[in-house]
Homo-oligomer: 119 residues x 3
């Protein structure tokens, strides 16, 4: 069942995306930090690669493609403040001991406002 276009208004709103690349072993801990700091959803993708600072995620470049000891976690939040809080907490709690990177990006998220005159 498709929604009727005339019932919905869609607008784009500026938001921030936090991207966290980290060792898979701490993925669920990072998910907990995200939720505690106000993130309402996140997307997790298995990844491989090579870290900065000499901390290789994989031992050989040729193995890079089939390595999945890393996760790439994305969180989209409405406020920069929440994005910064998540970023700082993850770095503070885990990136002394584990390798990884955290960065922010600008996004525009689509929001829908529904009108249901008959309900």
């Amino acid at each position: 069942m498709e929604h009727h276009p005339e019932d919905t208004t869609m607008t784009f709103h500026k938001a921030k995306k936090v991207v966290i690349v980290a060792e898979k072993i701490i993925a669920s801990k990072i998910a907990a930090v995200i939720e505690e700091q106000g993130g309402k959803g996140y997307t997790v993708v298995q990844a491989g690669g090579k870290g900065e600072h000499g901390s290789h995620y994989t031992s050989e470049r040729a193995a890079v493609v089939d390595d999945f000891s890393t996760v790439r976690i994305e969180v989209v939040v409405a406020d920069r403040e929440v994005a910064e809080r998540i970023s700082k907490k993850v770095v503070e709690k885990y990136f002394d001991k584990y390798s990884g990177i955290v960065y922010l990006m600008d996004v525009e998220i689509i929001r829908t406002t529904k009108f249901s005159p008959k309900s």
Copy 2:
């Protein structure tokens, strides 16, 4: 066989990226919408995670890393108008019934102009 640098001019052009995170079950339908609305290519990655609005993609946080019931689809298009059209159509057709998010980002895409004086 490598291309000779002097034969090619490369420039960067502003473009829009649409990111759609949705349930895997509707991935091919979303791909169809992308093509119908003018997207010429897209990249699909298996993902897991947790949705906003209480719609969990996974039942437990600890399972987040090994869950792949979600897809993350990226489309890069030259015009904002096409990006908006894809976004709105996906939300309109599927996000009443299925959970997911859609957002836009600014990118600069590399374009090559080749000069082949001998061909």
Copy 3:
């Protein structure tokens, strides 16, 4: 062991992200280019999808979700110059023969400065 917040200052710095989507068969060669051109780390994710210019990564749309003949490689670098160099070299060396796309994005990367008065 957690790090004490008072020992660390965290700041966000503008940086560039290069995203390269390419055939998996050349992933390790692209990784080599990234390192040669000054990239210090990169993240690799298995992907599927459909390319522009009629070069399909998959033969059928329905197969899109389960295809993984493609990789999505991300590199975050401090300077736009390095980002451009990586992008151009990848396009120049491989995108004549192989299909793929390369684009840049703005990011803000978190950096930590640690104070260790006792060490």
